[in-house]
């Protein structure tokens, strides 16, 4: 058990944006919400999954919809209070013991901190992705056979939907439609879980990992190589490429950003070229025509000099960046995992191969 203060939040926001692999939204507004909440209610208690009981009930908190909407219309602040209350009633439990993030990303790493602070609940150090993914069923809870239902979806106006769906894909479809009607951005509580579920299906220590990554980036030493090496050791990853963005290809389909970003090598990669295929998140990296990293393994784009992660919305011509890859959690590297979030699910005609083999 430990307390998360303002400094911890600054670090978690930036580290989670790194793990967000280009998706998960701009950490700024999420961070502002979290800082406001702990300023008002005090620091948040972080518990590891070893510190919770198997039969206690936990509900994650997340924001769904377009990140660009949430920079303009952000929550009222009591949405989850209502959602948690309704959910507890619906589940027939007396008390929700705590909350946790469903994904690592600029915004959704922060929302559970806001909820934990305002509701006085502990935050549990695990999530359901270990990175960011675009759809609700793309979680390790889904892989474990856990159902997403019931899910509560709510907005600042007071609307609450409690959904029970035929399967997890249906939840994605129906909740997506409601999100659009609620104004393009909504708050969701999904996969209500027991302590046992968290221990079994959750990706552990993700908040702590985000914080470590964020601290390395925020307190970058004068020696960039040293900080970079520390970062790579922390995530067990490698630098794929150093280069400059020379071309961007972008289209928006059904509310998602599809595209390719092409980089021309610099320094050691001077005569190489790298292409990243993204759909909100970075999914595939192709160096000189060869795939070098594939989803669900993580591809993060960071600023060449500051190591600050760059979201797909902020990519632009001429930006100098480093491409960093790291292996996904083993939970994703199963047949079912690859079927759920592998290259073929996103429409790329290639079989998944782990980062270590490429």
């Amino acid at each position: 058990m430990r307390l998360l203060n303002e400094e911890a939040i600054e670090n978690i926001a930036i580290g989670a944006a790194f793990l967000g692999c280009g998706g998960g939204g701009d950490p700024y507004i999420g961070k502002m919400m979290a800082l406001s909440a702990i300023k008002k209610h005090g620091p948040v208690t972080l518990l590891s999954v070893d510190e919770i009981e198997e039969d206690e009930v936990f509900i994650p908190a997340a924001m769904m919809g377009a990140p660009s909407v949430s920079t303009e219309k952000f929550p009222k602040g009591d949405e989850f209070q209502r959602a948690f209350h309704k959910m507890a009633h619906y589940l027939g439990v007396e008390k929700i013991t705590g909350t946790f993030p469903m994904e690592a990303g600029g915004v959704n790493s922060m929302i559970p901190i806001v909820v934990a602070a305002t509701e006085g609940l502990p935050l549990i150090d695990c999530d359901g992705m270990g990175r960011a993914f675009p759809e609700l069923q793309m979680t390790t809870f889904h892989l474990g056979g856990k159902t997403i239902s019931p899910t509560a979806i709510t907005d600042e106006k007071g609307n609450i939907g409690l959904l029970e769906t035929a399967d997890n894909q249906w939840m994605e479809r129906l909740a997506r439609v409601m999100t659009v009607e609620m104004g393009g951005s909504a708050q969701v509580s999904l996969y209500p879980s027991t302590g046992k579920d968290l221990k079994q299906y959750g990706i552990q220590n993700i908040v702590t990992l985000s914080e470590k990554i964020g601290r390395i980036i925020n307190q970058r030493s004068a020696d960039l190589k040293e900080s970079l090496a520390e970062l790579l050791t922390t995530i067990d990853g490698k630098q794929l490429f150093e280069g400059k963005i020379v071309d961007m290809l972008r289209t928006t389909e059904k509310g998602f950003n599809f595209g390719q970003v092409k980089l021309e090598g610099l320094n050691e990669d001077q005569h190489s070229e790298l292409v990243i295929h993204f759909q909100n998140e970075n999914l595939l990296a192709e160096k000189d025509g060869q795939y070098v990293t594939m989803t669900p393994d993580l591809i993060s784009i960071v600023d060449m000099e500051t190591l600050v992660p760059v979201t797909t919305e902020a990519l632009k011509y001429g930006k100098r960046v480093r491409i960093i890859a790291s292996p996904s959690d083993d939970k994703w590297r199963t047949d079912f995992g690859i079927e759920t979030v592998g290259p073929r699910y996103f429409g790329y005609d290639v079989d998944y191969r782990p980062l270590e083999e490429l």
């Binding site: 920079t71 219309k73 104004g183 393009g184 632009k316």
Partner: protein, 520 residues
């Protein structure tokens, strides 16, 4: 007839007089004074002194000034602001002034209320504004605030609520009470737009002092027949009346003026401009004759905003940059002797080795006493020049938008430290008037016009609607003093409002034109 341009910078106040054919008749530099005003007066007097021009024959006077920026950075002379955020029930999770430096919030007393209002992303109403609610807050604030800021959720999409609330505010606080609406100032992203609007409101007193002071100075120097303008940060001018409403638009007009001046001197519309000062250098990009806009949030006085700003890259390299050598590795800057170059640099008899000394040693510049740097080994000096060259090449490349070679225009007092050839650069332009490029930029600034309206394509076809918006923007520019027929479209923005009745689209058009009576 003549025009006079004045640019107040951090170090110098520059002035230039141009004739109708855009020839530079006279130019000068005067150290910027703490009160700004004295520096402007002296520069105007000095630039006129070198000519036999009758001040009454000056038909336009343009001022680019840092007074607004300084007021924010120093937290001085700011107005007490009340902010109405039209958003309830949304956005309460982050209240206004979150993330602001405390001394800034204190300086403007930071009053705010989150009231009913706002729109959804598709133009639907989030909640209706309430006259009674708005007016009761304003009555409570009357006498306590000096300026009002209004921001609404998605007001960059629909501004009718903000304008209605502004109307109510005038009913309660008086017809002349200063009101800033966010829709006129920033783009999407509520907090950043809100911050920019608060800053605009806070600058109300500063801009009034600035404009009055400028008018007085001109009168004192017998420039009585001139139309008076302030420079804004997109390279165009605003009348004093307009400037009083949008003081925040004067911020960063300095770098813009220097980019525009550079464009004029080199006769180029596409290039990278390198403005080398004493301590730092600014790189900007000229695109179609105007500075490229930054696409990111910009911090002003530690406050995050998102209104348009020129895309400027600053590097710690200037004429006064100190040269170090440690274990055989050479570094130049970011520390600098700054103002004190004329006493501390070796060529001036000082003891600090600066970039300028190196330029003199290799024969690239003729400044001070070259015999004082003869003791520097030539091989070492060349290595330092090589280092400076690499530093500039990397930064120039960062600003490029394609891999092709670009033209580079050098301006500013420290330009001598820049090598004659650079990788990735096709041609380097360097004009004898480059030292006062910013004052020249101020005097050649153009007039802009903007127009914004919601069109329904089923009634007015798209092409016709776009044409109409452009024509109306041109009319606005002509009203502001632009020559008829000289206007060019520089920006057109289409935003579909899906849930608005009959699939409406908002069109925003911006044109610029030459000032009447002064055809280049």
């Amino acid at each position: 007839m003549y025009r006079i341009g004045i640019d107040v910078g951090g170090t110098n106040t520059d002035a230039a007089i141009l004739d109708q054919a855009h020839n530079v008749i006279s130019s000068t530099k005067y150290p910027t004074t703490e009160d700004i005003q004295t520096g402007i007066e002296q520069a105007v007097r000095q630039v006129l002194a070198g000519t036999n021009i009758d001040p009454r024959n000056i038909s336009q006077a343009m001022l680019g000034t840092t007074q607004c920026t300084n007021a924010i950075v120093e937290r001085k002379k700011l107005s007490k602001v009340g902010l109405l955020r039209l958003a309830y029930p949304a956005t309460e999770s982050v209240t206004p002034y979150t993330g602001w430096p405390e001394d800034m919030t204190e300086a403007i007393e930071g009053r705010y209320q989150i009231l009913h209002g706002g729109f959804e992303y598709d133009g639907r109403v989030l909640s209706e504004i309430n006259e009674e609610e708005v007016k009761s807050v304003l009555k409570e604030w009357a006498g306590k605030i000096e300026s009002l800021a209004i921001v609404g959720v998605f007001s960059s999409l629909r501004n009718d609520q903000e304008y209605q609330v502004a109307q109510w505010a005038r009913e309660v606080l008086g017809a002349d009470f200063p009101v800033s609406c966010s829709t006129d100032i920033g783009s999407i992203s509520l907090l950043e737009r809100e911050n920019a609007t608060i800053l605009n409101a806070a600058l109300d007193k500063v801009i009034k002092i600035t404009t009055m002071g400028f008018e007085e100075t001109l009168k004192k120097e017998n420039i009585t027949g001139a139309k008076v303008f302030l420079c804004q940060n997109d390279g165009t001018l605003m009348s004093l009346e307009y400037a009083k409403q949008f003081p925040v638009l004067t911020i960063a007009s300095g770098p813009t003026n220097s980019i525009r001046g550079a464009s004029f001197l080199a006769g180029k519309k596409e290039a990278i401009v390198l403005d080398v000062g004493g301590t730092t250098s600014d790189l900007g990009v000229l695109a179609e004759g105007f500075p490229r806009e930054s696409s990111f949030a910009v911090n002003i006085g530690d406050i995050r905003t998102n209104f348009r700003m020129p895309d400027i890259l600053s590097i710690g390299l200037g004429g006064g940059s100190i040269v170090h050598e440690k274990n055989g590795e050479i570094t130049v800057g970011p520390d600098s002797v700054g103002y004190n170059i004329t006493s501390e640099a070796k060529v001036f008899g000082g003891s600090t080795l600066t970039a300028t000394d190196i330029a003199v040693r290799v024969g690239a510049a003729d400044i001070g006493d070259p015999t004082l740097v003869e003791d520097i080994p030539l091989a070492f000096a060349e290595k330092v020049m090589q280092k400076i060259q690499t530093m500039i090449e990397v930064e120039v490349d960062k600003m490029k938008t394609s891999a092709e070679d670009v033209d580079l225009i050098l301006v500013g007092g420290g330009a001598v430290v820049v090598p004659q050839t650079l990788k990735g650069v096709a041609h380097i332009y360097n004009d004898e008037n480059a030292g006062v490029a910013n004052a020249i930029g101020a005097s050649i600034a153009q007039i802009s016009g903007q127009f914004e309206k919601i069109y329904i394509y089923s009634q007015t076809p798209r092409a016709e609607s776009m044409q109409d918006a452009q024509e109306n923007a041109a009319k606005q520019a002509e009203l502001a003093g632009a020559e008829k027929g000289s206007t060019e479209l520089v920006e057109i923005e289409e935003t579909p409002l899906a849930y608005h009745p009959e699939n409406a689209t908002r069109i925003k058009a911006k044109v610029v034109g030459d000032m009447k009576g002064l055809v280049p």
